[in-house]
Subunit: 160 residues, 2 copies
């Protein structure tokens, strides 16, 4: 019987039931002086030559947010811990436990831990993907023309 | 601002907190007369032309099991509900909440809901992938030569 697994670990267990996995690095994102993202960590759960996709776990501390960006590649997101809000194009959504969120190509998006709790989510992407684009001042002005999106971008959503 | 999301749903919510998602079909696997798999359902959470990978949710009812198979493509598995056991090559592992399991290429594998509870797991695969191979009698005899694997295949693991 062919067996390529004898000498390699096949399991990484969650440590302390705290959304941290043994053998998986927790990559802190530095606070960005341009305030493009804040208080977010990344763990790459699955990646490598055998996979055309990657599965990552992001966690945003209360009040933090992911980068406001867009790119040719799509995101497939599964809310894994806590609650928050996301902006996907013109759609502003409250997200919570196990919600599935699709971010289509070339669509502005941002995730925010807008409640007093962490927001953790799994995110599947293509292994081969383009670099994110950041919004221009005009793009931002277009987004802010929607009052609800303006509040979201200022982290001023009410907790309804 | 470009926006491709105005007319399409970006969110599928979990219905009744029961690992079933609105708008996602629950695909029952028929009981297989050759007993290759039993009591397992599949939901395809993310798939489509924008993704080189797919994310599926499988759920095995207590006592059920997935197909014993191997293939060129790899599996990336995250235990999502309950506990059970998996066989990956010669490695037999108890798996539980949020464990990450890698099934390398061409490695025999099977998942079993070996406790009195469902075993649910997320599974990332490549969108383009080969068809599974089933074990020959000789392959099965080789596996059964390990007493623990023989017990696993007969669903006779003790709950330690």
């Amino acid at each position: 019987m062919q067996d390529r697994t004898v000498d390699q670990p096949i399991i990484h267990r969650e440590a302390n039931a705290d959304f941290r996995w043994e053998g998986v690095a927790v990559l802190p994102y530095k606070e960005d002086e341009r305030a493009l993202f804040s208080a977010i960590t990344k763990q790459v759960l699955f990646s490598g030559p055998d996979f055309d996709g990657e599965l990552r776990y992001f966690e945003i501390a209360p009040g933090g947010f992911s980068s406001l960006e867009r790119h040719e590649h799509a995101h497939a997101v599964l809310t894994f811990r806590g609650r928050g809000h996301c902006l996907v194009g013109r759609q502003l959504k409250r997200i919570e436990h196990h919600d599935l969120v699709i971010v289509p190509p070339l669509t502005w998006h941002q995730f925010r831990a807008s409640f007093h709790e962490p927001l953790g989510f799994l995110c599947m992407v293509n292994a081969k993907r383009d670099r994110p684009q950041l919004p221009s001042e005009q793009d931002l002005a277009d987004m802010r023309s929607d009052p609800e999106i303006a509040k979201f971008l200022l982290n001023q959503l009410s907790e309804d």
